[in-house]
Subunit: 244 residues, 4 copies
């Protein structure tokens, strides 16, 4: 069995597992579970983790050049091996959107905006979860509403400073949100720029269209000339051949 | 009566109603009305609300595919039904600016800038009103000057943190202002980028103009050739016909 | 005497007056002058103010359509009439840079960057002066170094919140700096975007160059054809004429 | 020996010296060295400094127009002469990346992103070192983790305000980080804009390709016409020559 086929066939099942993980993780973190509920949530999280580990190992076995695959997928290893990077397993959901690369240019900008909005909402939700998990005991971010608010304030690069992470993990999550925020501003600005440039360039395109039309006229004229030359030569040869 | 015609004919009257609502709402919030004045303001707001509800119902009745219209206008329903979303009724005023889409390309950028400036000022004003309304009793934003200052600081993504919303509604308003701020930065940057790209591309366009001019020369030359060929053939046939 | 000529001839003298004003104003604000020194500084400021008032009146008299000039130059009136807008008189210095609009496209981007850097430095300096003037007695910004630091933090939209204006004038100055900051980010991003777009488009331009070269080849070929046709007809007519 | 050759041959050795300086400086600042270790680190730093001074002097001697070189390299002098600007010696490492300017357009954007990421990480690391060095005794930034966190918060222009520099040197470093942050946002946005513009323009390019193909068809047609004309004249002259 080929690696590419495995990846293709496990794309949707693993996304489903990621969703299950998201629900269990959300429940555990938001409700700050204790006792039997915590055991249930932790069990579900461990099962989804086992699935991701299995997927990693199968991919490693299926890879043709195993050592090269290992070196180029250290990030995947880290996500599977380090509990602190658990939320990154949700990146599975983002890869589903990679289908965007295969769309036509017509609605390209519209899809980029939808993609950016979706990825931003997912990032805010996941970052708020991870931040709450990391900061609850030591920091000021002690409930989910505050964590969502903090994520929005950070992502927009406003940064009031009313809630600020103080733990190492919380700060790493914050840096991730900042990078996401810069990327979001970049995507929005770039999409707008592309739209404005195109609108303004429309008149230029009209002009180019005119050039093409000129070219067509010219081609028609040359074709007519050719026809005329041929017809004339034919005319002149016909009366000459019999005269010989 | 058609839905499109209804929308066209109610465009300006509803904008006027939105302005009346804006004035009454501003008066109520800024002056923190009590007693008879509050009753007057609240009555005016309720009357404008009734107009918006009426408009929503008439549109629903006039829509050809009612269920589809309902599903695609959930946002309009929310604005009409939820008191907390009252300020969004002023979006009516923004839709008036949609006329922009139909302008020529020539002054496209200038109008975008005017539109962005107008929308930003309206957003700052309305957000300050809504924020003051939401935060006055619980938060630190207790007068209109502070609310305007807070809106400017948030919209520019500076975010000093001297005034920070603490209520759920206040934070939702803040997220709206942040999104507006990111959009404003995007619009300004994109417009500038379009302008610079065009200025730099001007020399390229000159070159393209030259290409078109070359093409014209070529077309003239082919036309001259064709004329010449035709004239020569005519010349040669004239002396031959009589010789037959 | 024409208005345009007056403006052209007073351009440099008024810029010099603006510099004198800048020095006197800086001295007064930074040193927080008292006693005779304050009188000297204030006198110089008043003299420069008188020059600006005189310039305003002369322009009003020279304007052909006086009422229209008045209506379109309300901003100039406000800068001259309102003491709080004194720092805006330094905009004179910025207008000198308007010469940029007349430069060639070749170094357009380089000059934009220099212009943006110069305007940013001037804005930071002037805003810090105005902020210190406004906040010294009531706020936390009580020395020039802090005012410069505050202006940089605001302009970059970082907004730590360690120094925050609390007076109305101080906040208006801050909003001006925020707008300047957004504009600066926009200019830098747009210039970079223009540069990258051009670099990437270079290969496209090479292709266009190739198109032009193809077109030239075609034109040469048509010209050769025309010459050939003419030569052949001449050849054929020469031997025929004598045969008649 | 020519200056250009000297610069070319010392490029890599001086980068290595800069790395040695970086290690010694990091060790001294992060570990807040005292006693013999501090002496070792300081000695290494002084040796690398001596190398940079030597390089500066050799360049000054080798320069053909010495006074002009001196005036245009005041920045290099400042970096060598002022201890507070020590971290800027690491700019040596950035110049190595100047090789980027010579790459093909194909992967231009990819390399810009890698370059921006690399420069950002270096800037964050160096700024955190310099900030810790400047602020440790007077400010709140008293350990390296806090300094890195502060640099990230500043560079992203989030600016929570939990850590704020209070010394002159610390604030100058902060302004450098802010400028870097604005540049980073600009580079990311510009690269995205270029990519989107190109994707959307792809269909335009297809159209241009079509124009070129039309042109080729036309050229073929003209060539065929020419061939035909030539063949026909040859045909007609062959039967005439023998008839003479």
């Amino acid at each position: 069995m080929k690696l590419a086929r495995w990846r293709k066939q496990t794309e949707w099942p693993l996304a489903a597992v990621a969703v299950v993980f998201l629900i269990a993780y959300s429940w555990e973190v938001i409700a700050d579970l204790e006792g039997p509920h915590a055991v249930i949530a932790e069990t579900v999280i461990n099962v989804t983790w086992a699935v991701f580990v299995l997927d990693y190992l199968v991919q490693l076995v299926l890879a043709e050049r195993r050592w090269r695959w290992f070196r180029t997928h250290l990030f995947d290893l880290a996500v599977v091996a380090l509990p602190a990077l658990r939320p990154l397993r949700l990146l599975r959901l983002v890869t589903l959107l990679a289908v965007l690369h295969r769309t036509t240019n017509r609605f390209f900008r519209g899809r980029i905006v939808i993609y950016a909005a979706g990825a931003s909402l997912l990032l805010i939700y996941v970052a708020a979860l991870a931040e709450l998990d990391a900061e609850r005991s030591e920091g000021t971010i002690t409930n989910f509403a505050a964590a969502i608010w903090w994520a929005c304030v950070t992502m927009s690069t406003v940064g009031y400073g009313d809630y600020v992470p103080v733990t190492i993990v919380g700060r790493l999550v914050a840096i991730g949100v900042m990078i996401g925020g810069i990327a979001l501003i970049g995507v929005i600005t770039a999409t707008l720029a592309s739209w404005i440039v195109e609108r303004v360039a429309a008149s230029d395109r009209d002009e180019q269209q005119e050039t093409r039309s000129d070219l067509q006229d010219l081609a028609d004229q040359v074709a007519a000339l050719r026809e005329e030359v041929r017809a004339n030569f034919a005319n002149k040869e016909d009366p000459e051949h019999p005269s010989r």
